[in-house]
Symmetry: C2
Subunit: 365 residues, 2 copies
Amino acid sequence: MPHIKLFSPGPIEVSEKTMRAFSRPMIGHRSKDFQALYADIHPKLQQVIYTQQPVFVSTSSAWGVMEGALRNLVSKKVLTCMSGAFSDKWFDVAKKNGKTAEPLQVDWGTAITAEMIEAKLSEGGYDAVTLIHNETSTGTLNPLKEIAAVVQKFPDVLLIVDCVSSFSAMKIPFDELGLDVMLAGTQKALALPAGAAVFTVSEKAYAKAATIKDRGYYFDFLEFRKNKENDMTPTTPSISHFYALQSKLEDIFAEGLEARYARHLENARITRQWAEKRGFELFPQKGYESITLTCCKNTKNVDLPKLNSLLKKKHSCVIDGGYGKIKGTSFRISTMGDESTENIVELLGWIDECLPEAGTVEPAK
Amino acid sequence: MPHIKLFSPGPIEVSEKTMRAFSRPMIGHRSKDFQALYADIHPKLQQVIYTQQPVFVSTSSAWGVMEGALRNLVSKKVLTCMSGAFSDKWFDVAKKNGKTAEPLQVDWGTAITAEMIEAKLSEGGYDAVTLIHNETSTGTLNPLKEIAAVVQKFPDVLLIVDCVSSFSAMKIPFDELGLDVMLAGTQKALALPAGAAVFTVSEKAYAKAATIKDRGYYFDFLEFRKNKENDMTPTTPSISHFYALQSKLEDIFAEGLEARYARHLENARITRQWAEKRGFELFPQKGYESITLTCCKNTKNVDLPKLNSLLKKKHSCVIDGGYGKIKGTSFRISTMGDESTENIVELLGWIDECLPEAGTVEPAK
């Protein structure tokens, strides 16, 4: 199978350097070698998350930790902020775990605001809020700083934030914002292979977890913390992901965090500008556009499968033809991970080249 | 870091061929390419498990599925068969999930017999039994066929079997034995990198799961089955493990299942014979020795850390110095995965060479 570069928002392209690290020989996960590996990456992870708390690598996709957070922290009622495929699903996952969940549903592409959350929390009875920072299905970035500030007004409420597609691409200061859980899959902005998730937890959240009896084992936050004291994990970890993370953290600090953030912002700016010039309206509400991917309305009815097959054939790459209920009526271009501004300009040129040949389809009803 | 070959029982040595497959470029997990990958490996997995049921790859270590099985299947009471570090822990994991669990505890190294299970189940009130087929901490192989037959006498009871360190090394005919859940981590007999687990589920178990309301999402057996209908997974999978599994299944069928089983048996026979000749008593009860690893009592008080540091230095390999409460008083040699009989003979020669220099320690009190 030829190597097709993924400009779809996760999994994304993984560099050869990362893959070399990823495929290093196994080591015992109860060995000093593993402890040294975890100890090496840990302070760098803390720097990227701006936290003094221990940081964990879960051998699961992000959904494991998203479910785990509910099991660890919710005994009364969780407010689930819903504005796209992934945040909508979090509500269902809460129900499947026997939790009482209250939806805060807005239209896909609309931002969740601090005011909306405050209004809901003021009703009382909540012990947690789930929020997807950057809703990958719609390319919408929610105002985390404002939301975190408002949740602080409710001392019994914990804020669980999925940063799957924003983590490491923009500054998310965990301790300063007073977040309670931050989690991210490895296959998006970190540009590692899929199969693991990074997360961290506040003191307040640990205290709450300690009161919950059936929080389980595999995603038990207290087990993760206890094992981390010895630079170990509760269960056999995906050692390969630890190696890949070590390599990626090297890259991140070689570039510099601020430069990394600026690069992501510039990639997004170029892509949005391109969309505007080509007559593609942006899907997200104005002012809340993601900085790691650009989601456009398919306002010109481009035949997206055709476009992708041309991109594949001519340039060995693909973008994304829309997710869930907006598949076909929207498309997404990922600009996250290792992509340079030059790469993005090149990609946009390729799309321009293929658009006429791709042609159009009948508009979706 | 130099490449140290692991003769400790999991993670074990991963071949270069497997690592090449493991580090192939990412593909979209909702793409036709992923569907084709899963569809390619699936019938081979079914053959290795001797089942007509769908087979799943969980992006988690085996513990995730071990916990998941309890959440999917236990509403009344689970009988946890306990005879070593991992099977003992399963009892705790049941409690942490809010399940009622009854211990069937025997001394480490003693086999769990069908009679013991029958006596317990006859008391009534159970809906499941957990069993570790091959208890990796003690090198003890439990008589699965006899146990499965006895559990069949109790139609309301489901048999959940962890085959982490026996899977693919010996014949475990899932359908014929009437097992309800079979699960295995990838880092043991399959010789893949750590970070994923393979499992399958019976019709009876699906029916039970459907009655359980708070079985969760990440390890929900019904979600796995529903997604498998389209050759997909409920959440972002570790795509790399699917590739590695594809490569390994090629190897397994190139060798032939029967030849693979025979090789594992021969490796075990040679290792047991070596232990006997050197005056090391086997840890497991006679007649119940594992065929993938040999656990010896450290009857000669060998300085095991010293032995391992010599093996590392002279031959770039390690064995295992005992697990949990029998660390130091036992040691384990893994002979599973890709190891040829020649490799094992060579390893045993290296141990012989290093033993005199390793010296002895004071016997543990």
